[in-house]
C-alpha cells in the first residue's frame, strides 16, 4: 500500500495574467478525499494538472508514484477520471462506450466487455446500457461517466461533481457506491464537490482550495476537532426546561427554528451534555455532535484565505 497517492511540489498554473493555481505543495495519503472550494477556486485546474490535461506552468506532481510530466502515460494508467461536464464518444451505446474506454486503457476487448457489464451493474444501469449515450438523461450520463472511470480497475478515481443532476435516490446510491470504493475495494477516491454534506458523509480527508491555493488539508476528524464544539439536540418534551438546565450549566444555548437546541460545549464529545440530561431526567430525542462543522470550517477557511499572510497547508 502506498503512503502517498498524490504529491505536488510548487504546482502552479496561469492562463495569461490569470493565476488558477499557485505554488501548491501537498502530499495526499490514500483514502476518500474531498476536494472543496468555491467556484473558480482552482479545483478543476488542480485535477486537470494531475491528469496532464493542462500543462502546469510551474512545479511538478506525482500521481501513484509517477511524475506527471516525465511519465506522462504511466501516470494515468491506474487512474480513472469522471469529468464534471458531459462527455462521451458520440454515436456509441452505453456498454460499447464503457468497453471502448476499457480498451483505451489497455484492456483486451473480451476483458473490457466483461468488466463493462460488471461496472454498469454496479452503477445501477439496467437495459439502458443498450441505448445510445446521446439519448441518456443527466442521471444516466453521470452513471455511465462513473462506469468509464472504474472500468479498468484503477487505483485512484478522480470524480468531479459526480452527483450533479442526480435525483435523491440516484444520489444516495452513487454516494454509497463512492463511499464503498475505498472501504471495500481499496480504490482511493478524490471527489471534487461543492456539496459539503456529500463530502462530509463519505470522505475521510478534506482538501480546501481557494484562489488557487490549498488552504486546508487534514483528516475529517482533525478538521472537525479544530472547529468549536457544537452539539445540536432535539428535546423530546419540555424544551423550556432543557434550555434552563443548559443555561444554568453555563453553556451558550440557541433555539433553532426547527425546535432544536444548539449548544456550544467545551468538551470534544456530547457525553457531558448527556450526563447533564440524565441528571435532570430529560432524555433528548436526538443528539448530534458537530453538525455543519465542515460548512463552518469551510467558510472560516475561505475568510482566512483572503488575508494576505495565508500560505499553503500540506
Amino acid at each position: 500500500m502506498r503512503d502517498v497517492i498524490i504529491e505536488a511540489k510548487g504546482l502552479g498554473k496561469t492562463y495569461g495574467s490569470q493565476r488558477a493555481l499557485a505554488d501548491v505543495n501537498i502530499a495526499v495519503p490514500p483514502g476518500t478525499i474531498g476536494l472543496l472550494g468555491p467556484n473558480g477556486a482552482g479545483k478543476t485546474t488542480f485535477i486537470k494538472c494531475l491528469l496532464n490535461l493542462e500543462t502546469p506552468t510551474t512545479g511538478n506532481a506525482t500521481v501513484l508514484g509517477c511524475e506527471i510530466r516525465a511519465q506522462n502515460r504511466a501516470s494515468r494508467e491506474r487512474v480513472g477520471y469522471s469529468p464534471e461536464q458531459d462527455c462521451h464518444v458520440p454515436g456509441m451505446v452505453g456498454c460499447e462506450y464503457v468497453t471502448y474506454c476499457g480498451q483505451l486503457s489497455g484492456m483486451s476487448f473480451q476483458r473490457a466487455r466483461q468488466r463493462a457489464h460488471e461496472i454498469l451493474d454496479l452503477v445501477g444501469m439496467g437495459q439502458e446500457r443498450y441505448r445510445s449515450v446521446d439519448t441518456y438523461s443527466t442521471g444516466m450520463k453521470q452513471r455511465v461517466k462513473l462506469a468509464q472511470a472504474l472500468v479498468h480497475d484503477p487505483e485512484l478515481v478522480i470524480l468531479d461533481e459526480p452527483t450533479n443532476g442526480l435525483d435523491a435516490s440516484g444520489r444516495e446510491s452513487i454516494l454509497q457506491l463512492i463511499g464503498s470504493l475505498w472501504k471495500q475495494l481499496g480504490v482511493s477516491v478524490m471527489i471534487s464537490s461543492h456539496l459539503l454534506h456529500d463530502v462530509e458523509r463519505i470522505c475521510d480527508r478534506v482538501i480546501i482550495i481557494a484562489d488557487g491555493r490549498v488552504i486546508e488539508h487534514d483528516s475529517m476528524e482533525a478538521l472537525k476537532n479544530r472547529h468549536r464544539r457544537i452539539v445540536e439536540l432535539a428535546p423530546s418534551s419540555e424544551a423550556e426546561r432543557f434550555t434552563i438546565v443548559l443555561k444554568n450549566a453555563g453553556l451558550p444555548v440557541e433555539r433553532l427554528s426547527n425546535g432544536r437546541l444548539r449548544v456550544e460545549t467545551p468538551s470534544e464529545s456530547a457525553e457531558p451534555i448527556l450526563s447533564l440530561m440524565r441528571q435532570h431526567n430529560l432524555p433528548p430525542a436526538e443528539i448530534v455532535a458537530n453538525p455543519n462543522a465542515l460548512h463552518e470550517l469551510f467558510l472560516k477557511s475561505l475568510a482566512a484565505s483572503k488575508t494576505p499572510q495565508n500560505g499553503n497547508a500540506a
Binding site: L53, P83, Q85, C101
Partner: protein
C-alpha cells in the same frame, strides 16, 4: 509485337504521364468530395461531446489522438486515390505484353505518387485544421466549402493577386500537379510531333504548352507549405480538453 505500336516511341512515356495526370485530377476531386463527408465528423464531434477529455485522461497523448485521426484521413485517401493508382498500374503490368510498359510507365508513376504524397499531407492537414475549428457540423461544413470551393474560384480569376491565389489549397494543388507531371512538355511535344489533321488544335496545344512552361509553381509550393503549417497550428491549439 512491340508496345503501343500506334504511337512514336518518344511519346510512350508522355502517354502514360497523360493517363496518370488525368487519374490524379479525378482522384483529387473524389477525395475532396469524400473528405467533405468526413471533415464534420472528424474532430468536430469529439469537441462537441468533450470526448477529448475522455481520450486524454487515459494513457493516451495528443500525439496518439493525432495519429488516430490522421489514420482515418489517410485511410480514405489511400482508398480513393493511392490504392486504385497502384492497383491499376500493377494490373496493367500483369497484362502488359512486354517490359516496355514497365520502363515507360515507371517515371510517370513516380510522379503520380509524388503528387499523391503532397496532396495527402496537404489534405490531411487542411481537413484536421478545418474540423478542429468548429464544434458543430453546421459550422464546419461552410468553412470546408469556403476553403475548398470559394477560395478555389477566387484563385482561378485572372485578376486575383498571387498572394491571394496562394491561399487556395485546391488551386495550389492544381499548379503543383501541372508542375510535377510537366504537362507543358507533353503539350509541346505532342503539338510538334503528332500528325494531327486539325492545325488549329496543334496551334492550341503548342500555345497552351508554352503558356504552362512559363508559369512558376514556386508560389504554389510555398502556399501549400504555409497552409499545412497554419492548419497544423490551428489543430494543435484546439486539441485541448475544454
Amino acid at each position: 509485337m512491340r508496345a503501343c505500336p500506334a504511337l512514336p516511341r518518344h511519346l510512350h512515356r508522355r502517354t502514360f504521364t497523360g493517363v496518370f495526370w488525368l487519374h490524379s485530377f479525378l482522384a483529387l476531386g473524389f477525395s475532396l468530395i469524400a473528405l467533405s463527408v468526413v471533415v464534420p465528423r472528424l474532430i468536430t464531434r469529439d469537441r462537441a461531446s468533450n470526448a477529448l477529455t475522455i481520450y486524454l485522461s487515459r494513457p493516451l497523448t495528443s500525439f496518439d489522438y493525432l495519429l488516430g485521426k490522421l489514420g482515418i484521413i489517410l485511410g480514405i485517401l489511400v482508398l480513393m486515390w493511392t490504392g486504385p493508382l497502384l492497383l491499376g498500374w500493377l494490373l496493367s503490368m500483369a497484362f502488359a505484353p512486354d517490359s516496355d510498359f514497365f520502363v515507360y510507365s515507371f517515371l510517370p508513376l513516380s510522379r503520380a505518387l509524388l503528387f499523391n504524397l503532397i496532396a495527402l499531407v496537404t489534405l490531411a492537414a487542411v481537413a484536421m485544421g478545418v474540423s478542429a475549428l468548429g464544434k458543430t457540423a453546421r459550422a464546419v461544413v461552410p468553412i470546408w466549402m469556403a476553403a475548398w470551393i470559394v477560395a478555389g474560384m477566387i484563385a482561378s480569376l485572372p485578376t486575383t493577386p498571387d498572394v491571394v491565389r496562394a491561399a487556395s489549397f485546391s488551386r495550389n494543388l492544381e499548379e503543383v500537379r501541372q508542375d510535377i507531371f510537366r504537362v507543358d512538355e507533353i503539350l509541346i511535344k505532342a503539338g510538334e510531333t503528332l500528325p494531327l489533321v486539325d492545325r488549329g488544335l496543334t496551334k492550341n496545344m503548342l500555345s497552351l504548352g508554352q503558356r504552362e512552361s512559363k508559369r512558376s509553381a514556386t508560389g504554389a509550393y510555398i502556399g501549400l507549405a504555409a497552409i499545412v503549417v497554419v492548419s497544423s497550428f490551428v489543430f494543435s491549439r484546439k486539441l485541448r480538453p475544454e
